[in-house]
Every structure is written in C-alpha cells, then in structure tokens.
C-alpha cells in the first residue's frame, strides 16, 4: 500500500482509498464464505486457498506469456479480462471439485466432520502449491500501469478504480442472480430448507454445486485483483486473507450476502486505518481485525446485518 500524500487530510483520503480497494478483495472472498455457509452451513476453511490458486495459476500463465512489465490500451484490457477469466475458471472449478470430493460425502455426517475436511483440503491446496512453485514469495508480473487520477496531493491509482468498479459490478450481478433467476431462487430456497426445496423440484446437489461455483468464481476474480494491488505471490497468501475475509463475512452476518459485501469494505478500511495510524500499525492491523471479530461474536453474534426473521415458526 502506497501513501504518497503529504497533508494529513490527504493521507487520510489515501488511506481510505487503499482500504476500499483491499476491502473489495475481502468482500469478494467473504461472499464465497457466506454463500457456502448459507447453503450448507459449512465454514469452508479451504476458501482462502481456492483464492490463492487463482493467483498461482495466473502468475504461471503470465510468466509463460513473458509478461513482465506494464502493458497499455487494448492489450491491457485483453490481458486483464483474460486473467480474470482464467482466475474465475480455476477457482470456480476447484471449489466445485472440492465440494464434490470432500464435502458431499460428509453431508449427513456430524458438523465437525466437514469442518475438519475443509481444514485438510486447505493444507492439501497449500502444500501442492508449495511443492510446485516453492515456499518463497514470487513477484507477480504487474502488468497494470502505474498512474492515476490526481486530486490535490492525493493520487487514486487506476488499478484501485478498476478493482472497485468491477467489484461493485460483480456484486450487482450477484444480487440479480440471487434475487431474480431460477438458480438464485433455488439457492435461497435450499439455504432456508433443503428438504422443502427438494419437494419443489429443486435439484439440491446441483444447487449446492452452483453455490460453490459462484463462491469460487468470485474468489478467482479476487485473486487477480489482489495480485495487481499487492504483486507478490506466496503459497500461503490465502491463509491470512481467508481469515480476514471470513471475519468480514461474520461481521456482516454470515449467510447474508449484503452483509458480506459491507463487511468486506468495512474490514478493508479498518485495516488500512489501523496500519496507517496505530504505532507499529502494519503489525497490529490483523490484531485489530480479529479483536473486531471477537467483539462482534460477543455482542452481536448474528452480525451487523444478521437474519432478523426467524427461520421456523
């Protein structure tokens, strides 16, 4: 995160911009936690690593295309879209396969079983990446040019604008999908009462796969955005980011889509403010985030936008 501004108000605005951009990434990943939790009541601890695999594969693809410096114009648009599509396909497919192989066989098992399975999958995903690309960080080909909109002593990087605009667009699309499409209705019905949904003719397995697909796609896109903002790949990048995004989902009210979006942006801003304004902020910012998690769980377990309507009457 770069803070170039010199005045105190400039620093504040710059910090907010950085926070909102990272918040967009957290929000996209948080959506995956919340959608999956909403439908199968599982905290998918492997989700952060599903995100990481998008950064890993796009890194390898970019290297094999010999991209190492900024590109411009249509090349930039084309390359950005290509990476987004690759990231989305990789993480979407991965999430669907994980559900099929690791979680579905345990669907009727006690809840702890799939949770442990998720932790196991997380280790598997990290270890494979570590074996493949090594344990040390690799710099990500930052093909997005520097520069941005200058407002006084504040510079809003173009990449920040692109990430936030595309994220908001994806969220709008997700809302439409869940509200208005048949698949979205099937997801909502399954989340509320899977047996009753099956009695309406909803194919439960297909709907659950679809939920994992949507969550994975969003994490895949987030992986590309993250890599362009913080251009360093590491096999364990998904661990911490996953926990922060999970906190965002809990903060917004796990299972609640709007909550995850709001929670993501909120955590991004809080983390950026803590990094910049607390002494040793970059070391403390995670502690601040998890202190918030503990507070939310203690004071408002259903989250800021948690369900108000009772499930069963």
């Amino acid at each position: 995160m770069i803070v170039l501004a010199s005045t105190s108000s400039g620093i504040f605005i710059q910090t907010m911009v950085n926070g909102i951009t990272l918040g967009a990434v957290y929000a996209l990943v948080a959506l995956g936690y919340t959608i999956v939790y909403g439908i199968v009541e599982l905290i998918n601890f492997a989700h952060g690593d599903v995100f990481m695999w998008s950064t890993a594969i796009t890194l390898v693809v970019l290297n094999s295309m010999h991209v190492s410096t900024a590109v411009y114009g249509f090349t930039l648009i084309g390359l950005l879209l290509l990476m987004i599509v690759i990231g989305a396909v990789v993480s979407g497919t991965l999430n669907v396969v994980i559900e099929r192989l690791a979680y579905r066989p345990l669907r009727k098992a006690p809840r702890l079983a799939p949770l442990i399975a998720a932790i196991g999958v997380s280790f598997i995903l990290e270890n494979i990446a570590e074996l493949w690309l090594g344990a040390s960080g690799i710099s990500y080909p930052d093909f997005f040019p520097n520069g941005g909109i200058v407002l006084g002593d504040v510079t809003i990087q173009y990449i920040d604008v692109v990430v936030v605009v595309l994220t908001v667009g994806l969220m709008y699309g997700l809302n439409m999908l869940v509200r208005s499409t048949k698949m979205g209705k099937a997801m909502r019905a399954t989340a509320q009462d899977p047996e009753a949904a099956a009695l309406m003719g909803v194919d439960i397995n297909q709907t659950i796969s679809f939920a994992f697909l949507v969550g994975g796609v969003l994490a895949g896109v987030a992986g590309v955005f993250y890599s362009l903002v913080i251009p360093v790949y590491a096999y364990n990048v998904g661990f911490e980011l996953g926990l922060i995004a999970f906190t965002a989902a809990v903060l917004g009210g796990i299972g609640n889509i709007t909550g995850a979006m709001a929670g993501g942006f909120l955590i991004g801003v809080i983390k950026a403010l803590a990094t910049n304004y607390l002494p040793n902020g970059s070391d403390l910012s995670d502690a601040v985030v998890f202190a918030i998690l503990v507070l939310v769980l203690a004071l408002r377990p259903s989250g800021l936008l948690g369900q108000q309507v009772p499930d069963k009457v």
Partner: protein, 244 residues
C-alpha cells in the same frame, strides 16, 4: 362417493414397504393404495410412522425394500426432485414455507419445475381465488404470518406444481376448529378440480368425515383398512382415535 362410480384406477401404491431409521423398523411391510379421484386418509397416533410414510413416498427416506408406484411407474428409485415431476406433490408436516420469502415467492417456488411465467402467474391467481387471504398478503414475508395463513400457503404452494395427487401431512395441526373446517372445505374443492388426495392426520374425526377410505397405522403396521364411514363406526377406531 364419486370414486365408486368410475372404474378404480390406481394412482399411488405402496407395496410391502419396509423403512428403517438406523436399527428401528419404522414402516413394516406397509401396503397402501390410493385410487384416482379418491380422498384417502392415513390415521395413526404420534410416532406411528405417518410422516415417515410421506417421506418414503417422496424419496426423502429410502425404503429398505418394497416398491412405491405412481400411475404404474416405480418412483422409489428416483430422487425427490424427479418424483415430483411425475405429478405427485407433498404439503409437508409443519408447513415448511420458505419463511424469508414473500407469499408470492413461495408460490413461485411451488412452480419451480415450470418455465412458462404466464402460466405460473395464472396459477397464482387460481390459488389466490382459493385462498383470498393469501392475495391480501402477496408481498408479505411468509415467516411473519399466522399458522393458519402459512398452512394455506403450504397447500397453495403444493397446488402450484399442478399435481394429479396431492399429499397432505397433518394439514390441520395447530389450527383453530374454524380453520380446520376451512382447510377441509378447501380439500373438497381441490378434489372437485380432479386432484386425488392422500391425507395423513391426527384429527381422525375430521379426516374420516371428509375421506372416502382410510387406513389405520399402528407402530409402523397397517392394522385396518376400510371405507371412511365404516371406520367411523368401528369400535377399535372409536376407542383409539375418536375418544370412545
């Protein structure tokens, strides 16, 4: 009774069904038949296996052996969402409406297998004609409605699937006597529209007064089967289910 005048055509048949929950043998060699145009009720005390019978028919629980036939076709090998596409639908025990959806969204869910939105909108109007109360609540979140309204919604939602056979699991449970009467009046109206009805009830008097035939289920076994009129007069039934 209308049913007797027509040739008896089998709609639903449970043939020697055995269903287990773990080690407990819940349905024991159960055989039940529902003919086209009939209202058939299945009576039994709590835990006799009534809801398990419904779950077995709809594939929510798989029988260990025996067959479930719908219009001559075996359905116990199918998944729930495939079973209901055959034209058989369940209004489940405890209503199970989607409490965070509006009344209209619930009805749309009932028509989930159809893609023709004009048809769905027309069917919603038909349900609203049957239950004017629901029409007033069109946009209300269904979890905030009373139990009686939710029961109407559950039945209306089941009708949205355009079923040939409507199965109702305890439709009168928890309702006031006036509402129970309304529910049974509605059941007759639904039958007049050509829908066959299979009903599970604890309220034996209401069920037998409104049904053509009945079965009595005790500890997972069918112990009696007769016309509803005969069952109403039967001493065992009177003693066990009608309060003497």
């Amino acid at each position: 009774m209308d049913g007797k005048l027509k040739a008896l055509k089998s709609m639903l048949e449970l043939q020697n069904i055995n269903t287990f929950y773990g080690p407990s043998h819940v349905l024991q060699d159960m055989t039940v038949k529902v003919n086209q145009g009939e209202i058939v009720c299945l009576l039994g005390a709590n835990a006799a296996g009534k809801t398990t019978t419904m779950k077995t028919i709809f594939g929510l629980v798989k029988p260990k052996d025996g067959k479930v036939m719908f219009k001559g076709e075996r359905i116990d090998t199918l998944k729930t969402d495939q079973i209901i596409k055959k034209g058989i639908i369940l209004s489940p025990e405890g209503r199970r409406v989607f409490s965070r959806m509006t009344v209209r969204e619930n009805l749309e869910m009932g028509a989930f297998m159809f893609t023709n939105t004009t048809q769905v909108a027309e069917d919603i109007d038909k349900v609203y004609a049957l239950f004017p109360r629901l029409k007033e609540r069109d946009k209300q979140i269904s979890g905030t409605m009373s139990g009686g309204e939710q029961q109407m919604l559950a039945i209306g939602r089941a009708l949205m699937a355009r079923p040939q056979l409507l199965c109702l699991d305890e439709p009168s449970l928890g309702l006031s006597p006036i509402l129970v009467q309304t529910v049974f009046d509605t059941i007759h109206k639904i039958r007049q529209d050509g829908v066959t009805i299979f009903l599970v009830e604890q309220n034996a008097f209401m069920a037998l007064s409104n049904a053509d035939r009945g079965y009595v289920l005790q500890s997972g076994k069918i112990i009696m089967e007769d016309t509803a009129q005969n069952l109403l007069k039967n001493d065992t039934v009177r003693a066990a289910y009608l309060g003497g």
